[in-house]
Symmetry: D2
Subunit: 467 residues, 4 copies
Amino acid sequence: MVHSAGGLGHGLGSLYTAERNRTPLVVLAGQQTRALLTGEPYLMARRATEFPQPYVKFAVEPARPEDVPLAIAQAFRMARQAPAGPVFVSIPEDDWDRPAPPVPLQADPSHAVVPEESLRRLAGVLTGARHPALVLGSGVSEAARAHAVALAEALDADVLVAPLTARAVFPEDHCLFAGFLQPAADRLHKALSPHDVVAVIGAPVFTLHVDAGSTLVPEATRLVHITDSPGDAAGAITGESLLGDPGDALKRLTDLCALAIGEPRPKRPKRPQPRTPPALPMAENGAPLSPEAALAVVAARLPDDAVVLEEAPTHRNAMHAHLPIRAGQRFHVAASGSLGWAMPAAVGMALAEPERTVVCLVGDGSSLYSIQSLWTAAQRGTRTVFVVLNNGGYSAMKAFGRRLGVPEAPGLDLPGIDLTALAAGFGVTARRVTTGDDLDTELARAFNADRPVLLDVTVGPAAGELY
Amino acid sequence: MVHSAGGLGHGLGSLYTAERNRTPLVVLAGQQTRALLTGEPYLMARRATEFPQPYVKFAVEPARPEDVPLAIAQAFRMARQAPAGPVFVSIPEDDWDRPAPPVPLQADPSHAVVPEESLRRLAGVLTGARHPALVLGSGVSEAARAHAVALAEALDADVLVAPLTARAVFPEDHCLFAGFLQPAADRLHKALSPHDVVAVIGAPVFTLHVDAGSTLVPEATRLVHITDSPGDAAGAITGESLLGDPGDALKRLTDLCALAIGEPRPKRPKRPQPRTPPALPMAENGAPLSPEAALAVVAARLPDDAVVLEEAPTHRNAMHAHLPIRAGQRFHVAASGSLGWAMPAAVGMALAEPERTVVCLVGDGSSLYSIQSLWTAAQRGTRTVFVVLNNGGYSAMKAFGRRLGVPEAPGLDLPGIDLTALAAGFGVTARRVTTGDDLDTELARAFNADRPVLLDVTVGPAAGELY
Amino acid sequence: MVHSAGGLGHGLGSLYTAERNRTPLVVLAGQQTRALLTGEPYLMARRATEFPQPYVKFAVEPARPEDVPLAIAQAFRMARQAPAGPVFVSIPEDDWDRPAPPVPLQADPSHAVVPEESLRRLAGVLTGARHPALVLGSGVSEAARAHAVALAEALDADVLVAPLTARAVFPEDHCLFAGFLQPAADRLHKALSPHDVVAVIGAPVFTLHVDAGSTLVPEATRLVHITDSPGDAAGAITGESLLGDPGDALKRLTDLCALAIGEPRPKRPKRPQPRTPPALPMAENGAPLSPEAALAVVAARLPDDAVVLEEAPTHRNAMHAHLPIRAGQRFHVAASGSLGWAMPAAVGMALAEPERTVVCLVGDGSSLYSIQSLWTAAQRGTRTVFVVLNNGGYSAMKAFGRRLGVPEAPGLDLPGIDLTALAAGFGVTARRVTTGDDLDTELARAFNADRPVLLDVTVGPAAGELY
Amino acid sequence: MVHSAGGLGHGLGSLYTAERNRTPLVVLAGQQTRALLTGEPYLMARRATEFPQPYVKFAVEPARPEDVPLAIAQAFRMARQAPAGPVFVSIPEDDWDRPAPPVPLQADPSHAVVPEESLRRLAGVLTGARHPALVLGSGVSEAARAHAVALAEALDADVLVAPLTARAVFPEDHCLFAGFLQPAADRLHKALSPHDVVAVIGAPVFTLHVDAGSTLVPEATRLVHITDSPGDAAGAITGESLLGDPGDALKRLTDLCALAIGEPRPKRPKRPQPRTPPALPMAENGAPLSPEAALAVVAARLPDDAVVLEEAPTHRNAMHAHLPIRAGQRFHVAASGSLGWAMPAAVGMALAEPERTVVCLVGDGSSLYSIQSLWTAAQRGTRTVFVVLNNGGYSAMKAFGRRLGVPEAPGLDLPGIDLTALAAGFGVTARRVTTGDDLDTELARAFNADRPVLLDVTVGPAAGELY
């Protein structure tokens, strides 16, 4: 619920993130009273339904006060339809006082699925492949992860995570987990080359970040695609797309592959082993804690049912390497790449599931966008552990600056900020941490606390470049 | 293909119709050359992608000339996705001269379907019903009509056509065909009252035209809904909605109903008989030919494989009564209610299927919107028979005027127009017809001609009011 | 007044023309009844205020029925503000029955003017120029033409018409009239080269049609600009812009130039002579009447107070050469370049000023877009003379095809059309004319008639290319 | 400069404020590289020019890289045109590397002014009035204030400030200053009743906040209106509107009134006295410092050239009463009513005019929206004094809740926030203040400091309701 154009405007960066994350979100915005709207009054939202465009699926300001309840009911149904996303209702202030007929609460529309014959054909292709891979994306919900595991095991297929996937879609400690695809054509091409058949499920084909050539998929690789997003299906730059619920497709594909007629593909004689994190970089004497080492400490301490949110783009590769998300754990990141989402989202998730530990990994730069969310954490006593990987600036932007030939771009350092003081100002216990041992001790304490904790972890620069 | 903002603008009334008719349509608009766009040149489309909003599913002006082929390929895939509709691509003039990489032609994304368990549940409800009805809408494609017949017969269910359905969805000479629902709450309520279960398939729940109360569905009637339109599913004012392809659902439901466990509902002891058209109103001596009589003559002469297009809103009830569309025939009308569509659409359909006879039933008022389409018919020699039901004015508007208490609204008469002269001016043979016998003779001749023919049929006023 | 989305859609090509012509236009669109709007009813305009974008200055669907009168009153004031243009009000059908408070009818806001000191400075520049030119555009209203003449005479300045100007802004038989600028950079550059100071008044700097280089104004030429369009002022690619009413500026500049301190620039010793039309091309034996000759016949017969509308783009250069618009005459053309405007506009102007003769010069291709307007002319008995320069096709498009290297573009011929039959079908007297003498005779008769007349003049191809 | 859709989205609340404040603002947004835009890449802004609508005057993503400099130049000219406002340019990342022709830097278009004869007529009306009033709004720039004083003195007219005016437009210690109009019809009507002629200059007629009747202007009062906003002129609900620069009009009106023919209206025999602030409410023992008393302390200490920004809506009436903005001082508030603007604006103004003292008066609730701005103040060492009137919550919302019959609306208290810790965390010196004496001492120190200071002033509740 936001206030007219000012409140809505403040939230439109987050609305963009909600759209990219396919969050089912109903935004109700107050509007000035109908009696004043002809005269551009104070606090009016002009042409209210246009402001959230193009990042809502539907926007309406009902033509009459009595239509508001029905509009809200329709909004809820729309928001949850596949692909889920934000919906907007603008409500003049005086409408709340008017009578309206009751609106029946109806079940959500069912999700549509891939037709049986299409899946059957796909099962044939997959079971006949020499070295298939599954590429899984954010469309694979938490509930569907078990089906993904079953399918991968049935096929003895490598599992890759689609570029910039916004959630954990496969246990990263599973022996078939084969890593994260990068959002750059050259890296994609290389990673897909070993596979004769690739099934991309619940992801676009493909989300790119940087321009690195135009050939994403090797010519010899056959690509099939399952998605519940018509836009992703139409936009797929190669392969064949099947529209329907990805989770349902994973489940039915598993059964169909088990049944596949004829001799199935022989499995690999020796089952691959779960990936082990690479060795940590050797720390020089006196050097600050490396982000890799810090993440390894977090990984070691992370509760089995932890929910991890990340907004530390500089450290994404390190996180992938050193902080594998395991079977019972959850992981979320903003698909928009927009900063300021992870901290309030971490508080919200802790409110929604108070029994789980929520860990929010943010950079110091990212942490400042929505630092106010600490207050809500403190006031509501959420079990959120904020781990700030503090390298004193916007390192991702510095890295891009180097990539673009602007090594000294201004405004990317963040000196003079005391995150522990800020946390204290909002009522959250905070500690500054500089060594791996301290981090370990403080994390242990934080995971046992029944209140939010912020750890301001001084780290050195990231190793290597992002792509 | 249209010209910039002027040509696109001229076509936006038809684009609106295409959107409501769910026509898979790719609109390519020329744009001024990129070099001039910063200065509001002559013939420029300003903010080109906004003009066709909100009646396109997607609109783009590619950021580079070399992206145009891919944008067009994506547009074609999008236009055909369910629910089908218009897509817009704006192309600067100089882009056509630039090199671009080839774009692979891919299969369309498959259509998603209703999950098996949902259909199974629905089959149980339908087979257990006392007096079920199927309400079919424009989402039932020509190919799906046979499935609709099979399901209705399996269930011994009455079949009603959803309000303002834009195509023939069930043979109107079938014994289970039970008529057309009207787009007014009171009429709907009454028509659905005999049924304990109503399955609305391929239509909104419901499209209304006039405000006649707020209770559309009787309390004792259980309504289920199958649609491939997320908007129709979210907007359904009652009942439960299942998302998925309607034709696929009809087919699978038939099988599931046949298999339904337990004792199926006993069928009606006496099979209903096909509806027969009501008796024609008695013609007074010297009175002009009645529209009902004229339509009966058309019905009697109509070839078994005719395609009928209608744009004579005054005579819709008469057409439903006296011109039943039979099993092998096709029927189309503009779902938008916008005039000017039927004549060019009839020419287009005759071009697409030259072996079929296309009959375009229009009012004299409607015929004037796109009278120029006669020229295309003449030049291309299409087998189109234009039957103008000429009552000398806009009778539908007169009827609405009476309904709204404005019986003498100006501008609704159309004196002084000679349609045969207009047809001749465009090269189409035309005759004026005033009696049923003449109409019969001329129709016989027209259906045998290998060129377009226009019959200007003078008719009297429509009987009764629309609703 | 248009009907919902269908009627509005049909009119959006004309709305675009109205916007480019700066026509003060209030569009009232019917909307479905408020009670039905939550459910996408038949004939609904979805997000009604977006459809006419981006070619309206303002669009509103009032939040309450009682606000409709005030919204319409505001719309009228807005439409007439400088720069004038279309404004849109969407009105739900049931609103007309609701009570509303009376709205005071207020005077239009005054037009703002250029500050005195700016004009004074400009007067100094102009009187000190060696060889100044005035470039006048559509912003010079009919009422301001006399001021334009006075200023030109005070300065002994050449007067040029800005590219694609949509009305007559200076008597073309005046000795200082120096011709029409072409919308191409190379032509502009050449035409402005003789002048050390150029004042562009009431026009953009400049409207282009084709890409012919990027240097529009010679380096040695000082350009000053007066306009009441903020967009034209901001977009001017060179020179200094003054915002304010062009007519007011012309009047005050004349006085200020007369008063200019010091010795004014010596006038040309020998006053230039009025331009005489070039010799007509020699007609070969048996060749059809040339468009140039036809226009010369029209020019000779044209009444002193005629209003001329043109929509024959192929013949624009010939018209400029052979049909000079004289002091008491008026001239209009669609600034949009969009076809279909001139014929209905000619009927409307004849209705507005029944005492004047309105002449509509159209191509045969253009005439087909709105041929229905003949019916209104016939029914209302307007004094409109339609002169169709019939060359059997879309010659402007053929010329562009040649320019773009596509000499044989399909669909540009228009065989098999009998315009006299079409006119007869709508009740307008029409004659086919093939010689200059016949044209002269028929024109004489038509200008004396008190009813509309259409002359279908068979002409040969245009001489030369457009630019 | 903002980042694509995420960064732009975060800023759209402020963009709305910029639009309402008529801030000339050019927003440059990064866009993904052109090569990736066809595929919805990471960080892409979809349909980039639509997101900032409807709060920009113009939005463009140039069609070619080489057009970017011209687009930016046009944007700068447009942003400053009257009425000033935001303009948007979206720039694909790779465009920065492409060559482009140089763009000439041109003078801004001049501002248009009210025609002489209109002002002359208005001068007659004003000099002939019995008891005229000037109502001044945000369109009266700082430079025009002296003209406003001269005109008021020439006329001996009362000067009122238009409702919700966003800047100081008249010295509040001047004897003709007569107070602030309230944005409610009943209050407006009462305040204008004594005046036979009211000239509203540089403001809408009128901006309302709450619905309190429909009669704003007494029948006997003649209202004239000068504005440079076409929308405000068209939307004025009564009176006559003149379009043109308000400052220019004030200056010329003063001269014209001095010259007005005939005997001018006799001035009031006894010149009114400057308003004196009302007595402070008596403080009870132990009660917290009242906001009125706190503001009186600020007023007494306020430097003569101070710039005051306010975002403490609860205390607006108290500020008007106890903190008069004097001749050399400046004042600004967000015309949007949107929170989060004042603190960053105060830092920006201090950067722009480092020699002046900038005082930012904010509520504790308001201060949290952009608390991060303290860091910029600290890093850049601006001379900004932040005075937080801390009443522990969102009192304005509580007041509205009471007005709307929801006295106990949740979420309006702000316990557990330590503003001094937050300030310290960002590097700004801060002190908590609870008495008037302490406030006086700390203000004295702060005004002498060469660095930012935050004073967290604990205050009691506001007296009375807002309107």
